[in-house]
Subunit: 601 residues, 2 copies
């Protein structure tokens, strides 16, 4: 009994609420970069994108999940629908929405583009995947590429004529980029001969454009060991030579059978097996990792948005199912002679739905805040504003990447659970989204790595300045919430919790300064979870404030605002009280799993 | 890079520890029913079963996951390996291991059989599934069937000549058995004409035995509405008539595409489409649900054991992977010129492994305690001992069913995560076990239903007597732990936590007595989670006591015992402190999701 109402992917009302009531997206147009824009141009983009996402992209999801790419005759053949879908995305201006006019872009705020991307990812994350990877590769070339690379490679990527990939991971190194071994040998003509092997390269080959450019990490002969000897290269599958494209000796050695993201191939890629693979240096020698990491915030925010999207589409599916599926009766009315009630009437089903809502909409709000800081960091005229926004963006990124991956996975599991036995069947969609979501805790830096990044780098950076900025932003939200008449107990809990974060971080930072780095970082996973609860509480407090403001205006959609207040209440009751215990584990450096020898397992 | 060492499925050392050091399984032989047995006969069974599980059953897992049953010409064709595996199980005596001599059984303790079943389920849960369902059906016939049914149906099930199913769920009713509609019309010769439709019937058809018997809930014409009008029938696919088997008009209408348990078909079953389906009443008219529920503890404990098994095999796979996979270096040694370390050296990987160990071994200990109470409830000579054990078994069952399903799922996700990008590929096994595990929160009563069962029935039953018995058992374990020299802070935490459970349950029970049933049950999911943490803490305290006793004996395997103490430490540090917050949610009947109207979502 699939639901009859079409899945909205994301609530339009919530998108508008987050952009214009929680944030003031129209206010972004006061920045010179966005001065040609207005709420109207934002909505024009969003309307086009959401219509395309719902009417064209979403119907492709099940088909592409069922028919993954095939590998034959050395080439990857993706679902034939991609030949229609990718040009559609390009035509809507997705690839260059946020890029400057000088490269043909619409120069829209990242915040607005983020909302657009949620509709598309929720509709079919694999379709979006090709675009996201291409944007990442093109953006690197835009920032660090030579004029020739910008003209020959970047422009074609932005025009949708070629696609791009990010080729970092190697079989023997995994997350440990210091151990990258792919070699680059200068040829003498300014290019390099590339040889080596990469794994888990998404979109490494396809058959809907004529070429693919791999932004590849490699080590120039004689470079220092570790992360300081890695350079970045643009390595196309077919290279321009004498006015045409010739084979560049980049071979797909195999397609990995992923459990989700089925529309997007993930490949093992061999460079230079025939000794004839050329790469072009992007940026400076040995600065490859630094260049790549300059784009990392954006890449990780895309993963976070993906997590939100994948949880959102499943939440809406579960909500429609719960409204339509009759089964049993409420606790109060057990009389079997009465008709069955829709399962949304059962308290425990409602708990599962409200938890999903809290994760999805809290996660979206967090991701849009990170996007907002990215816009300020790139485009605020005031240097101090840019600096602060950059620090806050750095701080929020590991949280914004991980929260939707981890709690989104839980939300996706709940969406399946709401469907009961039907949820366990592949005739219903929730199980597919559950498979999709699982990747987000792994790619672009595992959850473990994000925890180390947050605690080992971000919160202690610049003498803890990022954390101070975060605390100031939270304090401003508390002030807004108090003014709007939000429940005082939530405001007080927010303040108390921020005090806990501050004290805890100071304690852990002192451990690190005293050389007890292992103890400091032992519970980085718990610290990250704690920080996620707090960051999302901040976003729920902001949403509660905006909801109270809306109710005070006497706006028509009371139901929407009341729902927001229930979800905020849920977060402050169910999640925020977990903070002291998580803090205790970090503070005491509880030692069960480091005391445990490998041979004791 | 799959691990080279074979997966042990379950640690033999842990199996022996749980049976003979935490519990005193040999002591069960003092009960008259088990007087012919000894540790030697227990170990004979376990040795045979674990060898068969490892050498014969486990190699079938991947094959059966990849090639699920097909449905053609109205029949289900299962994996051909089943023709060899099922007779193997029968030959080992699995089907009648716990059954009395009078039906050809070995009359072994359920506790010992539970350990045996963990090896088999961990090896291939679908293979075990056919046996488990057959045992359930046969056991119902043994308990309530007429002599004719016992001879004609039960004996063939126990001999492995036929298989059985449990046919409860209907498409329009789901978990709401009060809404069962399948009809039974007396024919006059003692049989009934059955008509109706069932869904999610596991093992409803196969092609490795000649017949399948469906233990079917149906409503005799004129029976009262609701649960008091449901009777139990034995309905074979082919019925005995004139000395041979003839078609009994039971049709498989389709096979559901489940996401896991791929070796075991789940079907839609239509009865009496041609008006010629006969059923035999089992037990009394209108007492079908009561009869079925008399077997429900056993069925739910089997689900719990399955959850433990599925988490166990994945934990061992992750452990071997973490020991073998080199990647990166520890926090203390970042020098990239050094060789990479196995990932088990990373604190966060060790956290993920210890959490899995705590869930798997804590869960096993809980399930064996439930099995132990089942043995006492059935076989203790003293009526008072039987009564107490029965009440404790009833109380523990929803917890023992749910904990491995919910936390086991988390453990399975961690096993995948330990494998990094490889874990996201179907060339590695963890993703398959993750799919398998997800069913356990749904079948045999969803997690939501288990919460209502625990809080709405079990802890308040007999004036709270079951809870008092539970508290006495925990107190006895605390005394044992203190005597053994277990950390006093764990003992004190256990006592404090039990006080919390007692007070909370009293408060909630009073709400119920005051007519506030909805408030009382609102947080039944949180109550169940709280109770699970406490019950598993009890089992970790018992394991810590046994480990201390082992260390005091100067036993050789110090490593094993030290590992147990680390896992106990982890549980008391990471999980037990969550109890006060969960209790607060229950006690205050926090109302976010009941306040939330259906239209506010």
């Amino acid at each position: 009994m699939p639901s009859s109402s079409p899945n909205p992917l994301l609530s339009d009302r919530d998108a508008a609420f987050q952009l214009y009531e929680v944030l003031d997206a129209s206010g972004l147009c006061a920045l010179p970069a966005f001065s040609e824009h207005s709420r109207e141009t934002f909505e024009l983009l969003l309307d086009n994108i959401r219509r395309f996402a719902r009417e064209v992209v979403f119907p492709s999801y099940r088909l592409m999940d069922a028919e993954p790419p095939t590998f034959r005759d050395g080439r990857v053949h993706v679902h034939p629908l991609m030949r229609r879908l990718y040009p559609g995305l390009v035509e809507l201006g997705l690839l260059t929405a946020t890029r400057p006019h000088e490269v043909g872009g619409a120069q829209l705020p990242f915040t607005v583009a983020s909302v657009a991307s949620v509709y598309l990812m929720a509709a079919n994350l694999s379709v979006y995947g090709y675009a996201g990877l291409t944007m990442g590769a093109a953006h690197l070339l835009e920032a660090f590429g030579s004029p020739w690379l910008r003209e020959e490679f970047m422009a074609r990527l932005y025009r949708g004529e070629w696609t791009g990939t990010m080729a970092l991971t190697e079989p023997q190194a995994g997350s440990s980029l210091a151990d990258v071994k792919t070699r680059a040998t200068p040829v003498g003509d300014g290019t390099y001969r590339i040889s080596g092997s990469k794994i888990f390269i998404s979109g490494a080959d396809q058959d809907f454009t004529e070429n693919v450019v791999h932004l590849t990490l490699a080590r120039i002969d004689g470079a220092p060991p570790g992360t300081r000897g890695i350079s970045l290269f643009a390595v196309p599958t077919r290279r321009p030579e004498g006015g045409r494209l010739v084979d560049n000796d980049v071979q797909v050695a195999g397609v990995i059978h992923k459990i989700g993201w089925k529309g997007l191939p993930s490949c093992v890629l061999n460079y230079g097996e025939a000794g004839d693979c050329r790469g072009w240096l992007v940026g400076q020698e040995n600065r490859g990792l630094a260049h790549m990491f300059q784009m990392m915030n954006e890449a990780r925010i895309m993963v976070g948005l993906n997590g939100v999207s994948t949880a959102s589409v499943a939440y809406h599916e579960a909500l429609a199912y719960a409204r339509n599926r009759p089964q049993g009766r409420s606790v109060a009315a057990k009389d079997a002679s009465q008709p069955q009630a829709p399962i949304i009437e059962h308290a425990d089903v409602r708990r599962m739905l409200l938890r999903q809502k809290a994760i999805v909409e809290g996660g979206l709000s967090l991701l849009l805040m990170a996007s907002w800081q990215s816009d300020l960091a790139s485009h605020a005229p005031d240097e101090e504003v840019r600096r602060r926004a950059g620090l806050l963006l750095d701080l929020l990124t590991p949280v914004a990447k991980t929260f939707p991956a981890e709690k989104g996975y839980e939300a996706n599991a709940l969406a399946l659970q709401v469907h009961g036995g039907y949820g366990y069947s592949s005739e219903y969609l929730p199980e597919a989204w559950l498979r999709d979501q699982k990747l987000n805790s792994i790619h672009e830096g595992t959850t473990g790595i994000q925890g180390l990044d947050l605690l080992g780098r971000k919160v202690v950076a610049a003498g803890g300045e990022a954390l101070r900025i975060f605390a100031e932003e939270v304090a401003a939200t508390v002030a807004r919430a108090r003014k709007a008449g939000v429940e005082e107990r939530w405001c007080a809990a927010m303040e108390r919790t921020m005090d806990t974060v501050g004290e805890l971080t100071l304690t852990l930072g002192s451990m690190g300064m005293a050389g007890e780095v292992e103890q400091m970082l032992r519970h980085s996973a718990d610290y990250l979870e704690l920080f996620s609860i707090v960051a999302v509480a901040w976003r729920w407090l902001a949403q509660a404030a905006a909801a109270r403001e809306g109710l005070a205006r006497g706006a028509e959609d009371r139901d929407f605002y009341e729902g927001k207040l229930c979800a905020a209440q849920y977060w402050f009751a169910a999640e925020v009280p977990r903070v002291p215990h998580l803090a205790e584990l970090c503070r005491t450096a509880e030692d069960s799993y480091t005391r445990m020898h490998a041979e004791w397992f």
